[in-house]
Assembly symmetry: C2
Homo-oligomer: 213 residues x 2
């Protein structure tokens, strides 16, 4: 087994944090996404959509998509359960993963693609109005997340799950790369972020010299 990854990139970091929570080690190979190595034919043969992370299985096949890789690893290493145990837990974890991805990460991605100088070459044309609209969407989502989280320890309830992995990596990417953060009065998110950031797993998959910028 081998994980194709890149230090500091938000989607690979999900798998690294997940593996740290599981106490499982997987050999890695760095794919230089800044040089677009993930868009070259040899990598596209592994993942035709070109994204990382990708997990190479022992039979030579490849599994793409961060959350799918973690679900596969959960099936191999069930403890501690990070996708829930009971039907209600399984549903709640997936609901929160999806809310965080579709309501938060998707909008963060639009700000990234249409509003960052680092992604100028990724789209035919950057649309600053799209970036601004998505930025407003990110702010609204942070507010809704803060109200929904309330006093619960973690997004899906009383246990740390994959939903918290997604939230942590997305929050940090939004803050570090785009300066997007929850409003100062979002006390529930601030409390949650401090707690999950204090876990040893939070250090996994971060770029070595990244500033907290």
């Amino acid at each position: 087994m081998k994980l194709y990854t890149y230090p500091g990139a938000p989607n690979p970091r999900r798998v690294h944090v997940f593996l740290a929570e599981k106490g499982v080690q997987v050999p890695t190979e760095t794919v230089d996404i800044m040089k677009r190595s993930n868009r070259q034919p040899d990598f596209l043969a592994k993942n035709p959509f070109g994204g990382i992370p990708v997990l190479e299985l022992d039979d030579g096949s490849h599994l793409a998509e961060s959350v799918a890789i973690c679900r596969y690893l959960e099936a191999l290493h069930p403890e501690p359960a990070l996708f829930g145990r009971t039907p209600a837990e399984i549903g709640a974890v997936d609901m929160w993963i999806r809310r965080l991805e579709l309501q938060l990460m998707m909008q963060v991605g639009l700000v990234w693609v249409h509003g960052s100088p680092l992604t100028k070459s990724v789209v035919p044309k950057q649309l600053p109005e799209m970036a601004e609209m998505a930025k407003a969407g990110v702010a609204r989502t942070f507010d809704t997340l803060d109200a929904s989280l309330g006093a619960r320890p973690f997004f899906a309830g009383s246990a740390y799950t994959m939903a918290d992995v997604i939230a942590l990596t997305t929050f940090d990417f939004a803050a570090d790369f785009l300066g997007l953060r929850p409003a100062p009065d979002a006390k529930n998110l601030a409390r949650w972020h401090a707690e999950v950031s204090a876990r040893p797993s939070a250090a996994a998959g971060r770029a070595p010299q990244r500033s907290a910028g």
Copy 2:
């Protein structure tokens, strides 16, 4: 248990097709999304993000997000398995669900929001350039999906799974509401679409009088 839904809407339809494949019936209540009933306080108390479908559980709690609802129902009714059985199957099904959602449905959604006369009031301002860019992305994704599907019977392999449910409902929404279809030479997708559309489950959750236009 009760499912809040709306006939013809693509995300609720996923749950209806899933239930038909399972042979399970769940009572439903229609939420008039055309009148924005899903944005009223009593519905936001069920799902603060305002989307449908939402499943009301017997304890009075609510589960949102189509795929999370199906995962919950899969845990209650494991047969036939629509999310895979082995670790490799579980990983492959989730990989395809995510590719179809993040690479296809997300772009279809941007065309819908920024390019349809029906969604003018949904965004502060429609950006026609965004709709055009997303339309080009949809075409590229259809091409990649066609090549990746190849001669496999279904997206995740030899068995019909939740990935096929997502693909069917997304393809039909893109075609019916936006006129977006795979290129005529995408033979693998055409063969797959004909096969899954012929299953009795394909009729579930469609609007009664919707034209094929």
